[in-house]
Amino acid sequence: MTANAASPNHLQLTRDGQLRHFLTLDGLSRDLLTDILDTADSFIEVGERSIKKVPLLRGRTVVNLFFESSTRTRSTFELAAKRLSADVLNLDINTSATSKGESLSDTLLNLEAMASDMFVVRHAQSGAPHFIAESVTPGVAIINAGDGRHAHPTQAMLDMLTIRQHKGAFEGLKVAIVGDVLHSRVARSQIRALNELGAEQIRVIAPGTLLPSDVESLGCTVEYDMARGMKDLDVVIMLRLQKERMEGALLPSEREFYRLYGLSQDKLALAHPECIVMHPGPINRGVEIESSVADGPQSVILNQVTNGIAIRMAVMSMAMGGQVAERQQKLTELTERGQA
């Protein structure tokens, strides 16, 4: 494994190429992404047992550090940690110490003093989990639960797991991501994952005002006309319209957006008949997606939620495993050096 200082991998991988933090999909190989999906498959089986718990993180403490509100992501991270037998602390920082003036570094130092082993971080600022991973005590794993417009790697991986479950493989797949790509950290991570895993075509379908200027450089084609974009699709991923992040007039109106880019039965009929419909949630019915499509036979939106738990269990146990293996390796080296 080569560790290029410019890539994020010197931070998120051990010398042997094992995960030790999970910050971004950038730089992660197809093999490693596949390992994550395979491990998650095994955790799906655990979720079907009468006792849905394994002892991997027994006695370890996981802190959910959410600087931005979230229901689904936080609760699935919490459930994932609990199913790994970890002790879980949920901190909603909006209502906590930072509002009393404590700095991020001080908050973290205090949490580390409570012998935490892992921080699951969501932050409105791109790069915040990366910053924390750089400064945190060795042995503590950082998982990115969404940072600014940058990345949401566990969401993208649970989407990949859902696609693999329904389509078997990525080769030959035509996938479209529709809607508010501009504000979406999910879209960036999805495009990255789909490219690495070998999808044939990745299209983004959106009005120009909701696309980042450099979007094609992420490795996708752009389509402004939804009817054209839907043709032959195997997978369509709808994005939530992030109204809370919009400044100024990016959209004429919600109704206009729905007419042009909302996923209705009529538009879905233009795709491959077995096309699956995905959405990271929360869905705005009648804004991005017609209710009957969201609840219809081609929708796998609720599978995505179930898969979210398994993916998060996989990433957390792999990162913790990388941390402990690395620590053990260093101890062995120190002992050997002491004996020499």
Binding site: Q18, D35, D38, T39, D41, S42, I44, E45, V46, R49, S50, I51, K53, V54, P55, L56, S317, M318, M320, G321, G322, Q323, V324, A325, Q328
Partner: protein, 169 residues
């Protein structure tokens, strides 16, 4: 050099031992569960020999290993699959080789997360001794003591071969 053990002979002994034990205990409809990877191969053969028609279970103990805090997670974990309800069943737990006993401890911990079996019988093809835990097979094909540098290698599934290798092979 690697020496070969006669698998058929070992399987004969294992089968005979299991038949005797099942009769002694009055167990009429046991189910087989093999521990990945070698134990699954042995369970497959045993099922045919014992005439157990119910499909056998496969256990991957990666999530239950006691060395996670030393080596991390096995990157090649596969899902366990138990195609039956274990509650109140008589289980024959099968592995290719028993040594420290740690794999069996992990396997039993995992099994109990599926339910409460009526009983568990442990069957292994080879018993290498060198136990670190108070766990013993009920039936073994053969007990074997290895030299310090020797290793046992099971290849399979068809044909199943057992080699005793010198270190480095």
């Amino acid at each position: 050099m690697s020496a070969l053990l006669d698998v058929d002979q070992l399987m004969d002994k294992l089968e005979a031992g299991l038949r005797r034990l099942l009769t002694e205990r009055g167990i009429e409809s046991p189910v087989l569960i093999g521990i990945r990877t070698g134990g699954v191969w042995v369970a497959d053969i045993l099922g045919k020999r014992l005439g157990i028609e119910e499909p056998f279970g496969k256990l991957d103990i990666s999530f239950y290993r006691d060395d996670f805090s030393r080596i991390g997670l096995n990157p090649k974990v596969t899902p366990s699959s138990l195609p039956f309800d274990t509650e109140d069943r008589d289980i024959i737990l099968v592995d290719d080789v028993i040594m420290s006993g740690r794999t069996i401890r992990a396997a039993m911990n995992e099994l109990f997360d599926y339910g409460r079996p009526a009983s568990i019988i442990l069957a292994t093809l080879i018993d290498l001794g060198a136990r670190e835990l108070p766990i013993q097979p009920d039936v073994a094909g053969q007990a074997l003591t290895l030299e310090a540098q020797q290793r046992v290698k099971l290849r399979g599934p068809d044909p199943l071969r057992i080699e005793i290798q010198a270190a480095g092979q």
